[in-house]
Amino acid sequence: MESVLVFIQDVLSTPALLIGTMALIGLIAQGRPVEEVIKGTLKTILGFVIIGAGAGILVGALNYFGALFNFAFGVQGVVPNNEAIVSLALNEYAQATALIMAFGMVANILLARFSKWKYIFLTGHHTLYMAALIAVVLSVGGLEGWQLILAGSALLGFTMVFFPALAQKTMVKITGEESIAFGHFGTLGYVFSAWLGSIFGKESKSTEEIKFPKRLSFLRDTSVAISLTMFMFFVLVSVIASFKEGFDPAMTTGINWFLFSVIQSLTFAGGVYIVLAGVRLLIAEIVPAFKGISEKIVPDAKPALDCPIVFPFAENAVLIGFLVSFAGGLVGLGILVALGSTLALPLILPGVIPHFFCGATAGVFGNATGGRKGAIIGAFGHGLLITFLPAFLMPVLGTLGFANTTFSDADFTAVGIVMGNIANYVQGYGLLAVSLLIFVAPIVLTLLQPKKA
């Protein structure tokens, strides 16, 4: 009997097996045939193992980058990338992340059922990343065990309906439909962009009336885009470092700076590629199951979907948004450098993926409210926002705050900053109570609202 308990405990405390067990239960509960149950369970575990392997590769390149950056500029340099930071977070917080993700989806269904925010958040990889962020921030804030899981799931469920609700007004403007919602944790940046657009972009023509060079679209290939920008960053730090006194050639693995930069930028891009492949496998069974179950329990809910769903509605705004947001990131970096002597902030480099996906989406949102002017000003504001937010997130991430990468998209960083700073004032049961209050708030507000006749 005792050995059975030890076995169960081992399964629960080995994240890959815990996640596999959750997939197994989910697949059996759906009444799927045996071969599909086996296939789905194995692929889910495989996904988790692959993420870990990708993390190992990423870290190698990031460590070289971090050391060189520190040597060249004397401060911490950070390239925000969700995949990189989540793969690192999973090394330590995998168990909490997995449980928070599972129960967070339950919390999402409860909120969609009982509050007026009837959204089901179907962007599975972002659910995973947000679960990881919440697990880290609450753990650093002192929660553990069942309290951590309960508080974390409540918060995750809240974010899964709150952010789609925030974006809905502009979403209707973009798609012309009420039935589809937006589910991507960069929402604060998009809403900010739409707000800037509505102020500055009055009567500006739509971006879609501009003729744009089609060849630029090769940047839509994420591996190519990551490799190119990381190459530029590596060249910058390795060249500057090599001119400084006390430079040790071992910092660039003893080879020429150019070749070093080529190898390391591609190593980083390769790591991201592997993590993405792992995430794809990990969520492959979870998302359809979540979708199926939620459709049964909350039939009138709106699916909240990933950001590229808005891209085809304004293709030019996508490219403008990416380029301008990236420019905003560079300007933001300049401001951080200028502030560096007074505030000890890490330098946030413009990570290509957040500017790429979130910047593009910010462009589409800005275009919806303020045409081409709105797209440009909105995306620029977004670029500044996602440069400053990570700088303030780093201190609440505990030891992960010293990594050379961090969460990138606006909602991850904002939720982390808010919860991390609340955790500075209330710990333990207090923090749990705050999380539960945040969770029930939408339900209470819905109940208090006078019913329409």
């Binding site: 991507h184 839509r220 190519v224 979907l305 950001c307 085809p312």
Partner: protein, 96 residues
């Protein structure tokens, strides 16, 4: 021409292409098409011959059209648009 594999693609191959994949499966079922493998992936992973036909949003057309026939959607979550365009393509190549 026999269609054995349909691949849905988007930027990182995680979110929207996955939803399109689920929709494609529904549409195939409705049209009574069987024995077709449907998958989703990132644009990086698309090469000539990786599928018989690709399904993507209008914004990805420039990347994917070099690798094979593309069913391109303006509203990538619209079932009606998908059914119309994919159905038309399958008729054109003689699957249905």
């Amino acid at each position: 021409m026999a269609i054995k594999k349909i691949m849905c693609a988007c930027g990182s191959g995680l979110g929207s292409s996955f939803l399109v994949e689920m929709n494609v499966k529904k549409v195939l079922k409705k049209l009574g098409v069987e024995g077709v493998e449907v998958g989703h992936s990132a644009a990086t992973d698309i090469f000539k011959g990786s599928a018989d036909v690709f399904v993507c949003g209008k914004d990805m057309y420039n990347i994917l059209s070099a690798y094979g026939p593309c069913v391109t959607l303006t509203n990538i979550i619209s079932m009606a648009e998908l059914e119309e365009k994919l159905g038309a393509y399958l008729k054109e190549v003689g699957v249905i």
